[in-house]
């Protein structure tokens, strides 16, 4: 028992699972930061629900990764005892919450992608992943509906809410492209139908985003998808602070059971 970090498996399937588990953990963690501070009580309930769904997805995926890796690790070893460069989430989900518009736009961009991704993954040749996907598909439908409803309310609401939402979209847009990247070690998984190529979801995602942005009276950003790196462990400054909080107990009290 130690505080030592675990080393990241080289096994492509483990890495594939961890990428998605990390997305879910980090976004769930970010959303949980709202607890007690949301703009209205109903939204306390909703943001907590959505955070809980993501944490639940992360746990299911980590547990499966542990089974595949078969190195005696568990969900907490993955979640709490990796070095920052070994977390593989996209940069989008680690963006700080910002104001409520930022939180909603981030959730919307991500959920619009994940609803397509989980839907496609229900057809995975890997029975465990397809079972996790079958459950997640229902959850993400609610996340997307919730985010899109707020997007329209905020975009159409007042001059201030419109401006904040447009700014959030402009600032988060460069991060959205990373969701469509796949890693070299995923090629075989894609070829065998265990994983899917996220690039194939781009057009459906973009159509949906453009449609909902129009309903929210928002202008589509023209900036390129310039911000990438999380999938290969190159994180933002914000990630270090997030991990400092997340890992605090596990790192401070090595080997303790909680």
């Amino acid at each position: 028992m130690s505080t030592a970090s675990i080393s990241l498996s080289k096994e492509p399937l483990v890495r594939f699972i961890l990428r998605r588990a990390d997305d879910a953990l980090v976004l769930g963690h970010r959303l949980s930061e709202w607890c007690g501070h949301a703009p209205l009580l109903e939204e306390e309930m909703a943001l907590a629900n959505i955070a809980l769904d993501h944490l639940g997805q992360a746990r299911a995926l980590y547990t499966y990764a542990a089974e595949v890796e078969a190195a005696g690790l568990d969900e907490d070893a993955y979640a709490y005892r990796r070095d920052p460069v070994d977390y593989l989430n996209v940069l989008l989900v680690e963006r700080p919450n910002g104001d409520f518009a930022h939180t909603i736009v981030r959730l919307w961009l991500y959920s619009a992608f994940m609803s397509l991704w989980w839907q496609a993954m229900t057809g995975s040749k890997d029975a465990q992943l397809s079972a996790i996907a079958a459950r997640a598909v229902k959850e993400v439908a609610y996340h997307l509906r919730h985010a899109a409803n707020w997007l329209v309310r905020l975009g159409d609401g007042t001059a201030q809410s419109h401006q904040r939402t447009q700014m959030a979209l402009d600032q988060l847009w460069p991060y959205a492209g990373e969701m469509f990247t796949s890693q070299p070690d995923e090629e075989d998984l894609i070829a065998t139908g265990i994983a899917i190529d996220p690039e194939t979801l781009r057009q459906a995602w973009l159509t949906r985003i453009m449609n909902e942005a129009a309903q929210a009276l928002l202008k589509m950003p023209t900036a390129p998808f310039s911000q990438q790196g999380g999938r290969s462990g190159n994180h933002s400054e914000a990630m270090g602070h997030l991990l400092a909080e997340l890992q605090f107990m596990q790192r401070t009290y090595p080997g303790a059971q909680w």
Partner: protein, 327 residues
Amino acid sequence: MYTQGLTPETETPVRAIGDEAAMARFQARIDAEQRIEPNDAMPAAYRRTLLRQISQHAHSEIVGMLPEGNWITRAPSLRRKVALLAKVQDECGHGLYLYAAAETLDATREQLYDDLLAGKARYSSIFNYPTPTWADIGAIGWLVDGAAIMNQIPLCRCSYGPYARAMIRVCKEESFHQRQGFEIMMTLARGTDAQKRMAQDALNRWWWPCLMMFGPPDTQSQHSDTSTLWKIKRFSNDELRQKFVDATVPQAHHLGLSLPDPKLHFDEISGHWRYGDIDWEEFRQVLAGHGPCNQERMAARRKAHDDGAWVREAALAHAEKHKARAA
């Protein structure tokens, strides 16, 4: 308790409200254990007493999210993180049911909440204490939710229907929280030296404030009389406090933890655990706004409210536009 009821009683005596015959009919219904529902005739003082109690209770649930919310991002395992977030969400849900119950008494949630933010309404003193360590999450679940249950189980039989029904729903969740908190303490008490020390330290800090949750001693309690007559309150503060002590002391011993009260002893004759003197001056200070976290708690709720103002305005503006377009 969550409604420590120290707001001075300013109502006129019962008999001055309504005519004598109507009062007698109302009291007869109460005495026959009939539930009073929102549309039933009720004395103005009954309505005011309930509104004060239910709204204080609702505010306590909402402010009570903060001390535990403090640990969500640092919870030590995924299982604990999920359980804690779900628990704090439950407390928010309790606040919502209680505001809904209060709204049956001709109040609006906005107005009640504004009173809280303006410092005009009370919430339980217990939430003005800090949560510096993870063990505080165990101690709150075990002791604070435990004390809440002691108070709220009798409230499930409260004469006012909407409040009683809200309490039935709330109590189920509170007992789950209490077991979860005890289980956290048990894990710590059986853990490393650092964990044991953390557990004992948390118990030392929470014990006395939890005893204060039941409100002032019966000799000083200002308005239990009408509440008892109207079957809003079925046990006195001291009776509930004693029940809590009797239930909790053996649990602390089971955990192998000691209670920070040198005078605590078991009285064979009465079968009760007798406790030492409660520092009522501390209680008064906390209620007067001078507890360790009063300022932070209110500042956090006000900041959330102020920062969220543009969001609520946007939702309203959109709803208006949407209605206008549909028309």
